[in-house]
């Protein structure tokens, strides 16, 4: 049972390469900050909290689309790992 779970866990990792780890974090931060500022301005000038929430929600969705999936572009940089050796 636990082996199946572990196997499943390994399948669901969707790793991305090291450079993309740094980049996605930066994209995420930029999108969310821009979204937060835009949402505050739109909400304030429309005097509507609904507009604010919707705008910020959209920013979160955009961030999710950009950051979450392991796009091929994010997994391109493969490292040359040492070849496995039989270790005791």
């Amino acid at each position: 049972m636990s082996e199946i779970l572990q196997e499943l866990g390994r399948k669901l990792v969707f790793p991305i390469d090291f450079r993309s780890q740094k980049n996605t974090e930066r994209y995420q931060q930029l999108i969310l900050i821009a979204g937060a500022i835009l949402a505050s301005l739109i909400g304030f000038f429309a005097q509507s909290l609904l507009y604010l929430v919707v705008t910020y929600g959209l920013a979160i969705v955009v961030a999710m689309v950009v950051v979450l999936p392991a796009y091929p572009a994010y997994t391109r940089e493969k490292l040359d790992w040492v070849k496995p050796k039989i270790s005791m």
């Binding site: 090291f18 450079r19 974090e25 490292l79 040492v82 070849k83 496995p84 270790s87």
Partner: protein, 170 residues
């Protein structure tokens, strides 16, 4: 090292490498000094005990009966947490291993990772204040499946320690 790790995860790489330091240095005839770790663990577990006591009082008694004790416990927790933070930041300073050779020579090992770079940043320092900063690309000691190649790591560390010794003689 029976379990493979995710070779693209910096936290897991860090943990595996840090935890294999004692093994490697033991092979190099260093004896580990546990002072720093024990200090950290004792403050840490003191915090845990205080929290557990507070939790226990909370479950067993009504709020108003134990307000005084809870105030003391929360105060102790706050002070200990600050002490713990101070200890990791200014006493431990990222030192992961302290080794002593038979001749009494000490060796301090600090390690770190930079954000998004698969390089193990190692800082060696001996008792005389000679320092050596090196970086080990992780793909030179891990294989694709996520197993640390102990012998490769050992060879690398051995070389660095030798470099440190020669640097001293200069």
């Amino acid at each position: 090292m029976s379990k493979p790790i995710n070779s693209y995860s910096i936290p897991e790489l860090r943990q595996t490498l840090d935890e294999s330091l004692p093994v490697v240095f033991a092979k190099l005839n260093y004896k580990q000094s546990f002072g720093l770790i024990d200090g950290k663990l004792s403050i840490g577990y003191l915090i845990a005990v205080v929290a557990a006591a507070s939790f226990f009082l909370d479950k067993k008694f009504a709020y108003k009966e134990v307000v005084g004790y809870q105030t003391l416990l929360v105060g102790a927790y706050t002070i200990l947490s600050i002490a713990f933070w101070y200890y990791t930041k200014y006493v431990e300073k990222g030192i992961k291993y302290i080794g002593i050779k038979k001749d009494g020579n000490r060796l301090y090992v600090k390690t770190d990772f930079e954000d998004g770079r698969p390089e193990y940043q190692v800082e060696l320092k001996n008792g005389k204040g000679v320092e050596l900063k090196i970086a080990l690309p992780v793909n030179e000691v891990f294989n694709e499946a996520g197993y640390l190649q102990n012998n490769l790591f050992y060879q690398w560390v051995e070389k660095q320690v030798k470099n440190l010794e020669t640097k001293k003689t200069q």
